[in-house]
Amino acid sequence: MVKLKITKKERLIAYVAVFMVVAAIGDRLFYQPIRDKFSGMSKKIFVEEKKVGVNLRNLAQKDAILEEYKKLSKYVSPIGTDEEEISRFLSIIEETARNSNIYMSGMKPQPTAKVDFYKRYVVELEVEAPTERLIDFLYRLESSNQLINIEEIQLSTKNESTKTLKARMLVARILIP
């Protein structure tokens, strides 16, 4: 049998190599799976702690939240069908326009969107009116006892000589059941 003669340096290199291979195998087979298991559990605990924290905070603030909600409950009402609600919304807009004495050249309902727990109705309007009346119209819309917002508006002058403004806007109303 041929006996291999290896120097001290070669032996050291061999030991280091063997150690590294064993360490790599140990890392893959044991260390990483155990670490993943532990970090997974730590993450689950973190999330659960947050959730429990939120719940406890809500329970602690229960009375204050209910009190606050009571004040806002007039904005919560049962919702009818989309058609009913859209026509109701359009009539609110028309009535406001009439009261503000402005001319509506276009009124186009947009598709209804269900957002989380509420419904959002949007109508695109095109109106022409002097500045003051237009502002009055916008103010009346937003200060009605409905949850109505002007989402977007583009104002332009009809011509430089007159004070009449031309506006194209998206008016949104939300309904919370």
């Binding site: 603030q61 917002n149 002007i150 332009s156």
Partner: protein
């Protein structure tokens, strides 16, 4: 229980010399960092009536010898010792050379012998003086068989000469031997070992068959025979190439009542002669040494005491190679088993610790989850109410409503600025497009806008000068992001 007490007690060593007519046993214990003799016994083979093994078993029991390993000593007369000069100074190479040439040094075949060697000091350049010891394998095997019957193992097999040399090193007056060349005569009952120490090393060793018994039984003839043997030894000593002249003689062993020998040697060799009594070495003697004195009258105890008490490392081990390999394999297997058991134990312990930690975490998670489930129904309702309230509040918040923004704009816009287009996107931005007479008016207007609370980071998309109806006009577009 015996194992536990033997483990807890101080370590012991046992040496056994099996000669032709005597058996010598000694036991030493480590006391104050020095092995001291705690048991010593010699028996004449003829006095053993039964077979050797059971008699020795009984003997060991009587001496309360514990442990399972002994140092086996082979008497010098069983061993052939040769002085060689080999062309290397590397011990490994010397071993290889001896391995190759051993069959030339003895009439026996390679398989019939066991050998060991010691490299001596004072080598010439590139060469080494080597003391080669050869012994017939059957002599070793006989003794190993006996040990097996006694359920013992030979830790090592030594030559009595080397052990006697180690015994001399224990002797406090032996220090001066390092500087001189001395002839040492260790008188035993049937024979005597004679060796020469030069510069503190045994360089020559022979056995002569003149012992205490012969001297006592032949009062008229022993002097002549002794003289002849010594003369022959000196011739051999010089023949082997040793040049250093012997300066003194030391006589030890069973010397009690042999005053004539000392006088005869002094007169015949014309050299100073010293007698070393075994009790001159108190370092390894028990307090009560009278029994040793009685025993040392018949036989030499140098080798067994030297084997146990010396702190010098012995060089020649005649343990057959196959037994050594077998023992190494056994040791490695044992070592691997222990390492394996230890590693498994460590792994189990670590796993247990990790599992304990993991299950503590898991238990905590389960507690949290149970708490969450318990609070979820009521807290969930409250959360949905809270979300609804927040949504309503957000819708009712008119901070950045179009009416407010337009009112602010109309209030602050100077007369020089004319808007053509205002584009408002809720919670995002207001884009103002228009014209002015001068570029500076536009930038002044930007500064005014920036002062408003509702805008931040106002950007001028463009501001370009144009000719309109023969007048200079600056067209601009400003992007005004709404603050949250």
């Amino acid at each position: 229980m015996k194992k536990i007490t033997s483990f807890l007690s101080k370590p012991k060593r046992v040496a056994l010399e099996l000669g032709t007519s005597w058996v010598k046993i000694a036991q030493a214990q480590l006391l104050d960092q020095q092995y001291k003799i705690v048991g010593l016994s010699v028996k004449r083979m003829l006095d053993i009536k039964t077979t050797l093994a059971p008699a020795m078993k009984q003997w060991f029991r009587e001496m309360d010898i514990t442990g399972n390993e002994v140092t086996l000593i082979i008497p010098r007369h069983f061993v052939t010792i040769k002085n060689l000069e080999l062309p290397s100074t590397d011990t490994r190479e010397i071993k290889e050379i001896i391995d190759l040439q051993i069959s030339k040094q003895t009439p026996y075949s390679r398989d019939e012998i066991v050998f060991g060697f010691k490299v001596l000091q004072g080598n010439t350049e590139g060469y080494s003086n080597v003391l080669l010891a050869i012994v017939k394998k059957n002599i070793i095997e006989e003794r190993l068989k006996l040990l097996r019957e006694l359920q013992l193992e030979a830790g090592c097999i030594r030559i009595s000469s080397e052990m006697a040399y180690q015994y001399f090193l224990l002797f406090s007056r032996a220090k001066h031997l390092k500087e001189s060349t001395a002839l040492i005569i260790d008188i035993d009952e049937e024979s005597s070992e004679v060796f020469v120490l030069s510069a503190g090393e045994p360089v020559f060793s022979r056995n002569i068959f003149i012992g205490r018994e012969f001297i006592l039984k032949n009062p008229d003839d022993w002097e002549r025979k002794f003289s002849e043997e010594i003369k022959r030894l000196f011739e051999l000593y010089h023949h082997e190439g040793h040049r250093a002249a012997v300066e003194r003689v030391l006589i030890t062993g069973a010397t009690d009542g042999l005053a004539d020998v000392l006088t005869f040697v002094r007169l015949s060799l014309n050299l100073p002669v010293e007698k070393i009594d075994i009790l001159d070495i108190p370092i390894c003697m028990p307090e009560e040494a009278s029994s040793i004195k009685v025993m040392s009258r018949s036989v030499s105890l140098s080798s067994v005491i030297g084997a146990l008490c010396s702190q010098e490392k012995a060089h020649i081990n005649l343990l057959p190679r196959e037994i050594e390999i077998e023992r190494q394999v056994k040791y490695k297997a044992k070592y691997l088993t222990i390492t394996g058991i230890f590693s498994v134990a460590v792994l189990i312990l670590l796993s247990a610790l990790l599992l304990e930690k993991f299950y503590t975490k898991k238990h905590y998670y389960e507690l949290l989850h149970a708490k969450f489930i318990k609070s979820e129904t009521e807290a969930g309702d409250i959360e949905s109410i809270k979300v609804k309230a927040n949504t309503i509040r957000k819708y009712l918040d008119k901070k950045n409503s179009v009416v407010n923004i337009l009112q602010e704009l109309f209030k602050i816009t100077p007369d020089q600025i004319y808007f053509r287009d205002i584009h408002y996107v809720k919670n995002k931005e207001v884009i103002l497009t228009g014209s002015s007479e001068a570029m500076s008016d536009v930038f002044k207007f930007v500064t005014i806008l920036e002062a408003l609370e509702c805008f931040e980071n106002i950007k001028t998309n463009y501001a370009t000068k144009k000719q309109k109806n023969g007048k200079d006009v600056v067209d601009f577009e400003l992007i005004c992001p709404l603050k949250e």
